[in-house]
């Protein structure tokens, strides 16, 4: 929120330069930044609106942190001169008490509309508010000074001279002063007359009773509306204003009176309008909270050792007072409710720099790491060893479909849903990288989401993708997946062809744990469910003694109908009753006239002796006859 340095300066004798003020606020109060020589941007915390969302409030902070007295400024609390003796021609009808906690109006006549003074226009400009005319501007100016939003209506445009505060009716709408039309609902509060809404309460005034050149009499409103209602309406209408921000943050009721008093002062004094009187729906004296403050608890909480005197001194600079060992809280400090709240004030005024850094004393306990981190690390290390590069993609995708989780406020039309798979975005990234690389190898570990029986599930997924221009990528990826699973310690898995897509399922223990997809002749994609995998892998590696006897291999060429799957041929050799087969591998293949000619290399090894070539010939004979029987082919 923007603050005018020139206005703040008026409250002090010789205020430090703006840079210094900003630096002190930053180190002891609020996030602040100097926008230009006269504008300070301050981030008011949401619990500090009540006392600080005004130039006087910020002045008080500056006064506290610089330990410098404020000279001349409009009061925010206390006794005010304004009287509500009634000659006010306007009546007020509050229809539901909970809508408004304080409603002050006052009427003025002899109004002359003109341009505001240069001084007021400058302050408004510095705070980002467009000047309109002297009445509207002074409402805004006083809001900037004391933090209370104010509104002026043209009294002669209020039908029946009665202001009604009520909930909006169904299908009611209002045209605001900027010409926009808003459709209201029954949860919105309106300021109305007999004819209809005059303003969206606490948010924006309507065009109908707008103050303009013809205005001769005005009603000034200084109110405090139900915080939650204003917040909701402002959100529902998408209409956030200086007023709505302040009311949403629960500013103090007392400010309504302070604001009205200050405005009356301007209108009567500076502008010479005639004050006719007004109403205050809820005049009251506010009592101050008393809290205890124990310096020992403070020190053992912060790890400091400061004296009570020093702590109290900091509090006093902020307007707190010590009374009978208790601390009296300034009225506007709605955020201060407990001793911890006082402690925060003390520590920030002291400065965090002064807190020493001390190693904690802890009893030894074993730390743990959630398994997904270890498993994820292992997978990342393996895949990067295999030459795959890790990417992070967004959690959002665009395609609709069953089971996909839809966002109610998507950021863009291509990011409407949560991803249920890592593959769509990995595919996109492969294609993006094809602009710069001939071969692209990617993987990602990340959460995916899916709706199952109305419940949304999320789990960690692994996506691996390969893109090789003008080359088949699928078999490398298949090899990578198999190698990965083996290295992770998953001994028992299979990769059967899928019936629903061109690719393989990854199965283990009768569960589907993933898939390998041949996207096209260049791109292949694989995805594995890490939560399922984690439950299946057996991390123990058991050592097998090195072979004592040599291996021998034999090549076997077979011509088969091309529809016979090579994987099945290899498997039928591996599972055959022929003993001592260590490995079967495909070393050559070519196709001709619906037939495929394949060459397999079979490796034999016994753990008991060196196999003689006669023994191996015998085994090969058996293998051949098994294949001949199974596939009905002749083998050379």
């Amino acid at each position: 929120m923007k603050f005018s340095y020139s206005l703040l300066k008026k409250y002090f004798d010789n205020l430090e330069p703006a840079e210094e003020v900003v630096e002190s606020l930053l180190m002891y109060s609020f996030e602040a930044e100097l926008q230009n020589e006269n504008v300070i941007d301050i981030d008011i915390p949401s619990n500090r609106y009540s006392d600080s969302v005004s130039h006087v409030g910020i002045g008080k902070e500056i006064s506290a942190v610089l330990n410098k007295e404020m000279r001349d400024y409009p009061k925010l609390v206390g006794s005010f001169e304004t009287s509500f003796e009634n000659n006010c021609p306007v009546k007020v009808d509050i229809q539901e008490d909970e809508l408004v906690s304080r409603y002050i109006v006052g009427c003025f006549e002899g109004v002359e509309i003109e341009e505001s003074s240069k001084e007021i226009k400058e302050v408004l400009g510095e705070c980002g508010i467009q000047p309109v005319n002297n009445v509207v501007d002074v409402m805004n100016y006083v809001m900037l000074e004391v933090g209370q939003p104010l509104h002026a209506f043209d009294l002669d445009k209020i039908e029946g001279e009665e202001i009604i505060i009520r909930r909006a009716k169904k299908d009611e709408s209002i045209k605001t002063i900027d010409g926009e039309v808003y459709n209201l609902s029954s949860s919105d509060i309106v300021i109305a007359d007999k004819k209809g809404p005059l303003a969206i309460a606490g948010i924006k005034g309507g065009a109908r009773a707008e103050v303009n050149e013809e205005t001769e009499r005005i009603v000034v409103e200084s109110a405090n509306f139900d915080r939650v209602s204003i917040y909701r309406t402002s959100r529902n209408l998408g209409l956030v204003t200086d007023a709505s921000k302040r009311f949403s943050h629960d500013i103090h009721l007392e400010l309504a009176l302070a604001g009205f008093d200050r405005v009356r002062d301007f209108l009567e004094g500076d502008f010479s309008f005639d004050y006719l009187g007004g109403h205050d729906s809820n005049p009251q004296e506010f009592s101050k909270k008393l809290l205890s403050f124990d310096i020992d608890s403070f020190n053992s909480f912060m790890g400091t050792s400061i004296s009570r005197e020093r702590a109290i001194n900091y509090l006093e600079r902020l307007g707190f007072e010590e009374k009978d060992k208790k601390i009296e809280v300034p009225i506007l400090r709605k955020d201060i409710e407990k001793e911890e709240d006082l402690a925060e004030e003390v520590i920030r005024m002291m400065g965090f720099e002064e807190v020493g850094s001390k190693p904690p004393k802890v009893s030894l306990s074993k730390t743990t790491t959630d398994e997904i981190f270890l498993f994820g690390d292992e997978i990342r290390d393996l895949l990067s060893r295999f030459g795959y590069n890790e990417v992070y993609t967004h959690s959002f995708i665009g395609q609709a479909g069953s089971g996909k989780v839809k966002l109610s406020n998507p950021i863009s039309s291509d990011r409407t849903h949560l991803r249920d798979s890592l593959l769509p975005l990995l595919l996109e990234k492969i294609e993006d990288n094809f602009r710069f690389f001939e071969k692209v190898r990617l993987f990602e570990v990340g959460k995916v989401f899916e709706k199952k029986d109305k419940k949304i599930e999320e789990w960690n997924s692994l996506g691996v993708a390969i893109g090789t221009k003008r080359e088949e990528g699928f078999f490398e990826l298949k090899g990578i997946v198999a190698q990965l699973l083996e290295r992770l310690g998953l001994i028992d898995f299979s990769l059967p062809p899928s019936e629903s897509f061109e690719g393989l399922e990854v199965k283990s223990d009768d569960q589907k744990v993933g898939k390998v997809v041949r996207w096209n002749e260049e791109i292949a994609l694989a995805e594995l469910n890490l939560e399922k995998l984690m439950t299946l892998v057996d991390e123990e590696i058991s050592f097998e003694p090195l072979p004592k006897y040599p291996a021998s291999s034999r090549d076997l060429s077979i011509v088969l109908p091309s529809e016979v799957r090579i994987g099945e041929v290899i498997q039928s050799i591996e599972v055959s009753p022929v003993e001592n087969i260590e490995n079967v591998d495909l070393i050559d293949e070519y196709f001709e006239d619906n037939m495929q000619s394949i060459t397999l290399r079979i490796v034999f090894r016994s753990s008991e002796k060196t196999l003689s070539s006669e023994e191996i010939d015998e085994k090969m004979k058996k293998v051949k006859s098994i294949l001949e029987e199974e596939y009905g082919v002749d083998i050379r």
Partner: protein, 335 residues
């Protein structure tokens, strides 16, 4: 001269080995001269054969001659090899072969480093869900419904067919890793020392410093006497380990509903004069302890949240956060 067959055997072994190991034509010629030249070792033997008794000559002669033939043949063969390969000496200045190597994402590197540092300081590493209930993301963290404090976090909401009124089920994409503080305290007793690295989400327009998803690391330490001074120690230890010795710190007040006091930590790198905001923190708010049924009069502690993307950007001098999620290998391959 007394010649024994075992002498010839020695010469054979030695000469054959030398020929085999010869690395140039010149060296080979030297070897030839040493054995077969006018004053060569083998030549001298052959010449002196005429002086040995006839029986001995019959025994040694054929062996020696045979050895000369074999050696000549071997030298000739080696000679041919050198001639054939002449001028094709290996050029060692040619580029080495490229090694296929995969790279990990910079955020993975940063997260691992952060985890390692915290683990060395006795913190456990904890995971939590990305999809959260409104309760854990906000309410339990002292951010009540319909409170403008919620506007501090621009939130993605999940659409539900049935409009649930109960905040336990209404799902949001977590806007910070802080909900895991609550989850962890619900299931563990004090003392607690843990960090939570993970993905978080913000509903906001992306630019060079904002992304719709990004990574945070949450930290929580709770015990009987865990103080703000302890927080300063732990976080300085972390930042110094992460950024290296000589990094300067600045602690200043801030506001988060779930900590009190709240503070912001800035760092200044050696040889820089710019303060960089790196993390938000504070002492755990009494209301958060209340929400997890910890007695705030018996335990106290600190919590903090650090943006891992931000740490990575500072560490590697990356100016645009969007690069992390671009999948661009020209970027990834630098890490």
């Amino acid at each position: 001269m007394d010649i024994e067959p075992k002498d010839l055997e020695k010469i054979k072994e030695k000469s054959f080995r030398e020929v085999k190991n010869a690395s140039s034509k010149e060296e080979l010629e030297e070897i030839r001269i040493n054995y077969l030249g006018r004053d060569g070792e083998l030549n001298n033997i052959l010449r002196s054969l005429s002086e040995v008794p006839i029986e001995k000559r019959r025994e040694i002669g054929p062996v020696a001659n045979n050895l000369r033939d074999k050696l000549e043949e071997l030298i000739a063969e080696r000679q041919r090899y050198f001639e054939e390969n002449e001028g094709s000496e290996v050029d060692l200045t040619k580029p080495g072969e490229g090694v296929r190597e995969g790279h990990l994402h910079p955020l993975t590197h940063v997260q691992r480093e952060a985890r390692d540092i915290f683990q060395s300081l006795n913190f456990s590493i904890v995971d939590g869900p990305e999809l959260e209930s409104e309760y854990y993301n906000f309410t339990a963290l002292n951010i009540p419904p319909d409170h403008p404090a919620r506007d501090m976090w621009d939130t993605f909401w999940v659409e539900r067919e049935d409009e649930p009124e109960k905040e336990e089920v209404k799902e949001v994409l977590r806007t910070h890793t802080s909900p895991v503080q609550v989850r962890y305290m619900e299931s563990h007793n004090s003392p607690i020392q843990m960090v939570v690295p993970g993905r978080t989400f913000r509903y906001e327009a992306t630019d060079s410093s904002h992304e719709i998803n990004f990574y945070q690391l949450e930290g929580l330490m709770v015990g009987e006497d865990v103080t703000l001074a302890n927080f300063k120690y732990i976080i300085e230890e972390f930042l110094e380990n992460f950024f290296g010795f000589g990094v300067e710190f600045r602690f200043r007040p801030s506001y988060f509903p779930f900590t009190e006091p709240s503070l912001e930590v800035d760092i200044k790198l050696p040889e820089s004069d710019e303060w960089l905001e790196v993390l938000g923190a504070g002492m755990v708010h009494r209301n958060v302890f209340d929400a997890v049924h910890f007695n705030p009069n018996e335990v106290q502690g600190f919590a903090f949240g650090v943006g891992l993307d931000r740490l990575a950007m500072i560490k590697y001098d990356i100016e645009d956060v969007r690069l992390f999620y671009s999948g661009d290998l020209r970027f990834i391959k630098q890490f």
